[in-house]
């Protein structure tokens, strides 16, 4: 059994760690409040935009368009694919970053010419330490997502796509399903897939709603798609930011709880050790006194 002083030292260090995790918990929870508000304000936009695009794709007449071009002429081993990875700036957020990076790895194994666009300090350092080249240095933090950031990211990705340096554009972000659950999501942004919606079979003879696109479908797509990409990136940034704060808050809360439980165990053990030491001391004193008395009589 460890002696009392050792246990006391251990208790102090656990207490200090708990102070840190508790402070981080408080910081994360105030940040979460801010990011929740942002998410609440952005969600209508994010979801309306997605449903709008799906509707457009459903009703899109069969026209050739740049953003639909799957570039079948490019063979599978020559296809260059880009991935926008959104990680956090800091660790200590539970499985948040690991989930994202794990999916990023799986994605990278499924193709050869991969280009990574990394947002967030932690992801950047992770790929740098593994000598995985990162396409463009997005020296942006993921704190405070703004439309301006989203425009910068989408313009560089769209430029690469338009100049055929990229054949596919994917995005990896973390979605807040509810306040307890976050899910890493992998999505293909470009080229837009029409197959996704052809699953819905239209009964023969049913009136197919015709939507007019002004001035022409191609022209509408020219304007709508870059806008959609920017909006999607912005929404993904906000979702990820909120998820990160939530993950950190939960991780820090459970760390603080664990520290409290550990302190509880340690204090029980400390008391026991202290009690044992006192008992032993008394036994020694009594034993010594008795020996002295015997000596005196004899």
């Amino acid at each position: 059994m460890a002696n009392a002083r050792e246990i006391l030292n251990r208790m102090h260090s656990v207490q200090d760690t708990r102070k840190i995790t508790n402070a981080m918990y408080l910081i994360a929870s105030t940040k979460l409040k801010k990011s929740r508000k942002l998410l609440e304000e952005t969600e209508p936009y994010f979801y309306t935009l997605q449903s709008l695009i799906q509707r457009i794709l459903r009703h899109m007449p069969d026209v050739e368009h740049f953003y639909f071009d799957t570039r079948k002429e490019v063979p599978a081993d020559k296809r260059s694919r880009g991935l926008i990875v959104i990680t956090g700036d800091k660790g200590l957020a539970g499985a948040y970053n690991h989930n994202v990076l794990k999916i990023a790895h799986q994605w990278m194994e499924s193709g050869q010419n991969n280009h990574l666009y990394v947002v967030g300090e932690l992801g950047r350092q992770y790929f740098a330490s593994r000598h995985i080249p990162v396409e463009e240095q997005f020296h942006y933090t993921v704190q405070n997502p703004t439309m301006h950031r989203a425009r910068l990211i989408s313009s560089s990705v769209l430029e690469d796509y338009e100049e055929k340096r990229l054949d596919e554009v994917w995005i990896l972000y973390t979605q807040m399903v509810n306040s307890m659950k976050m899910e890493a999501q992998l999505m293909q942004l470009l080229p837009l897939k029409r197959e996704d919606f052809s699953k819905i079979t239209v009964p023969a003879g049913a009136y197919q709603e015709d939507i007019r696109m002004v001035p022409s479908p191609a022209e509408v797509m020219n304007h709508v798609v870059p806008n959609y990409v920017t909006g999607f990136i912005f929404g993904a940034l906000v979702e990820s930011f909120c998820s990160e704060q939530n993950a950190r808050m939960m991780a820090m809360q459970s760390a603080s709880d664990n520290a409290s439980a550990l302190l509880n165990d340690l204090s029980v053990e400390y008391n026991r050790v202290r009690q044992a030491a006192i008992t032993q001391e008394i036994t020694e004193v009594v034993g010594g006194a008795r020996a002295q008395r015997k000596k005196g009589k004899g």
Binding site: E41, I211, E219, F234
Partner: protein, 141 residues
């Protein structure tokens, strides 16, 4: 007068959600007016001034300065999804002018095509905001 349901969603808030008598949006080739029971269509809009009239406003037009976006008309419902939407009185003129000057300065420098497009877009945004702001001020005088 008959109305239609109008929803204007900006990236940071829902700007308007209610019934509306008439709507005018800035499309790429000029303004487009939308009245109730218009046929289904999808329209791309650009930076500029959007205005709409609600039954409660007694013929007064409400104005908004909007960014790039999409308008969808379907079943007498109009959904406008834009990256920004502001009321003219909420626009900070000093900030808009600073943004314009910054964009003009950047345009003068040698830039890549992408940077050029970015500063061009921010210049268009700044001009649209300034224009919306000034027009609403002249009306008040």
């Amino acid at each position: 007068m008959s109305t239609f349901w109008l929803k204007i969603v900006a990236s940071d808030h829902v700007f308007f959600n209610g019934s509306c008598e008439a709507l005018v949006v800035p499309a790429h080739d000029g303004e487009v007016g939308i009245l109730p029971h218009r046929e289904a269509m999808i329209l791309a809009i650009q930076e500029g001034e959007l205005r709409f009239r609600t039954p409660e406003s007694n013929g007064q037009w409400q104005k908004a300065v909007v960014g790039l976006g999409i308008v969808q008309v379907a079943n007498n419902r109009v959904t406008v999804v834009v990256d920004t939407a502001e009321r003219p009185e909420d626009i900070d003129e000093v900030r808009a002018r600073q943004a314009l000057e910054r964009a003009q300065e950047q345009m003068r420098q040698k830039q890549s095509l992408r940077e050029f497009k970015m500063s061009q877009a921010s210049m268009v945004r700044a001009i649209a905001r300034l224009k919306g702001k000034r027009e609403s001020e002249y009306k008040n005088i």
